[in-house]
């Protein structure tokens, strides 16, 4: 009905934002009292993403969410550690598996869920869906659906940063599968030839759909590919939050200083199928069990617990709070208005060319 639709986005009331990084260095990440707030903030962020994704899967089953829906479950340390290592003036370009990326970057989770629900209040006003989240104000420059297709855009972002002599870094995230496509090669080469401030961050979750990295890539250790561009490159344990954050931050700050591109491979595993409808028959049970034992949230909780910074009671409390928050998020998405069908053509063009009749199809 008409009063269910608005054309102007309804800005959600902000959820609790991700923790702000202090200066990130080994000291700030030590499991010590003085770092407690920040560490627990990151823990909470991982839990929020986990719960968000679990409930997104459920909402998909209820047909509240459609299309493709790719989850970050299992990748939380890589996602949170990688993105929280950035400064607010940095820019993020990423793939379609990016709910957690957006949330970690401070995009309001309500707007993320609303986008998954295809609502006007979504980050992309319901036009993009799960694969195309965006938030210019957070310099979260989008999720993209063509594998490898956003790497050239990250080069362009870094180009603009350098052109304007700004102290920003572009952070470009992509999967292991994306490293075999031509755009990957062109992008890394171009970035190095022009010394652009971009950090390439490969989320190596070992599979591109049903294909393991070693069956698709001549080198299974993806970070080695950077040798062809004479580019500094590291491989990190993507299940270890503190390692991801520390080493990412080191690389990002180096690049900020010298405007030379660098490469990070973060080793992790997705605990669910490629997308929520994938029966996931191509990975062995052994493999799944092995990786589940390395659950990045459990691992971090273990660290927090053994160092006396938190206990199971605390974790339980966080889970409850996060659960409640995600309930609110879903409620918000559910209550939000659909896009107005009259706005179908809106946004096709910018400025004077937007929504002009001569740019519509023939009307019947």
């Amino acid at each position: 009905s008409d009063n269910q639709t608005v054309s102007a986005p309804v800005k959600p009331s902000p959820s609790s934002p991700p923790p702000t990084a202090p200066a990130i260095n080994a000291k700030a990440l030590e499991l010590k009292k003085e770092n407690r707030d920040f560490l627990l903030g990151m823990h909470r962020e991982m839990q929020l993403i986990r719960r968000f994704e679990e409930r997104a899967q459920e909402q998909y089953t209820k047909a509240k969410i459609g299309g493709y829906c790719h989850l970050n479950i299992g990748e939380e340390a890589t996602v949170v550690g990688g993105i929280l290592a950035l400064k607010s003036n940095d820019w993020v370009f990423t793939s379609y598996r990016e709910h957690g990326h957006a949330i970690a970057r401070g995009v309001d989770p309500k707007a993320v869920m609303a986008e998954l629900f295809g609502k006007e209040t979504g980050t992309s006003h319901g036009r993009g869906g799960s694969m195309h989240l965006v938030d210019y104000s957070r310099r979260f420059m989008g999720g993209y659906g063509i594998v490898g297709g956003h790497l050239p855009l990250a080069v362009g972002g870094a180009w603009a940063v350098k052109y304007r002599k700004q102290p920003d870094v572009v952070f470009c995230m992509f999967g292991d599968g994306a490293t075999n496509i031509g755009a990957f090669h062109e992008s890394l080469n171009m970035a190095k030839v022009f010394d652009l401030p971009v950090v390439w961050f490969c989320v190596n979750n070992r599979y591109g759909m049903g294909t393991p990295v070693e069956k698709a890539s001549a080198v299974a250790d993806v970070y080695k590919k950077a040798c062809a561009y004479d580019m500094e490159s590291i491989q990190i344990d993507g299940m270890n939050l503190r390692e991801v954050m520390l080493r990412t931050s080191e690389i990002v700050e180096k690049t900020r200083k010298d405007s030379v591109p660098r490469f990070i491979e973060s080793l992790c595993y997705r605990f669910r199928g490629h997308s929520v409808v994938d029966p996931d028959k191509y990975r062995s049970e052994d493999d799944k069990v092995k990786w589940r034992k390395a659950d990045p949230i459990v691992a971090f909780e273990h660290e927090l617990e053994t160092s006396g910074l938190a206990d199971e009671e605390y974790f339980k409390n966080v889970r409850q709070k996060v659960d409640a928050e995600v309930k609110d998020i879903i409620q918000y998405a559910d209550d939000s208005p659909d896009p107005n069908p009259n706005d179908l053509y809106k946004y096709t063009y910018a400025g004077e060319w937007d929504d002009r009749p001569e740019l519509r199809a023939e009307s019947v």
């Binding site: 299309g67 659906g145 490898g148 049903g210 069956k215």
Partner: protein, 335 residues
Amino acid sequence: MATAVKAEEKLYRVALREALAEEMERDDTIFLIGEDIGKFGGAYRVTEGLLDRFGPQRVVDAPIAEEVIVGTAIGSAMLGLRPVVEMMTINFSLIAYDQIVNNAAKIRYMFGGEVKVPMVIRMPGGAGHQLSAQHSHSFEVLYGLIPGLLVVAPTTPEDAKGMLKSAIRSDNPVMFLESMSLYNTKGQVPEGDYTTPLGKAAVRRSGSDITIVGVSRMAVLANEAARQLEEEDIDAEVIDLRSIRPIDWPPIVESVRKTTRCAVVEEGWSTYGVTAEVAAGVQERCFDYLDAPVRRLGGAQVPMPYAMGLEKASIPTSEDIKRLVRSTLGKKPDV
């Protein structure tokens, strides 16, 4: 068409699978290559089971690298194999567009006939699953435009099987355009080995008031619309274009000369779409017979939106086709 005697109800996807399997049994120069067509079973499960049956030499899981997948097919075809590529969806074929246009389509001509490129690229297109801007388009016209290619879009399980066999046996690069939304549709499939020729349209329904030409899945919807229009005493003839390059003009011309009116419908964008060529060609060939301009209908000219309501508003429905028909007949579009 060599229709065999018996026939059985089968899914469009199964008909395709049978064509692949039967041809591979017949000719061991045929191999399949694509992303996740083997172990994963194919994004749309067309190739399910074929890896087990034919082994990894003939059912090849390739890296995500559309240019070299297509290039591999072309190069191997030049050396005498008969590759069948599965492009996960037509949207990704844009990455391989240079290979298809500048190599597959042109190699024979630019080398003065010294080599040939017998290959098939199968790919589904279309919208309707909330896959949004980068995964929902039709793009038939990108291939229809190119000399050197044959382009078909089967809409029934029978045609899917018969035309895929013809495509595989052809010595030319054939773009075989499937429709995501048709994989789960059923229809009679003749038993035994039969082929359905490339390059031929099919009259799906005869009628006297108007000719509706449908492209890909829209031919199915056109049929539906035509059935419903009976109630309004409108007797529509429906032609399934089937062949996008070349267009099979004779049955279309014959039909329009009889009905004197023509409406054309596609799921993709109609401006510069397949329907543009059909409309232009019909008026050229049937001008003196036409009692009304040839009218067109296509998808909304936007990158496909995600939200269900917006997406629905972007894809032609049988109701839209009925409105198009009515207005082509000079009636009010809405009843």
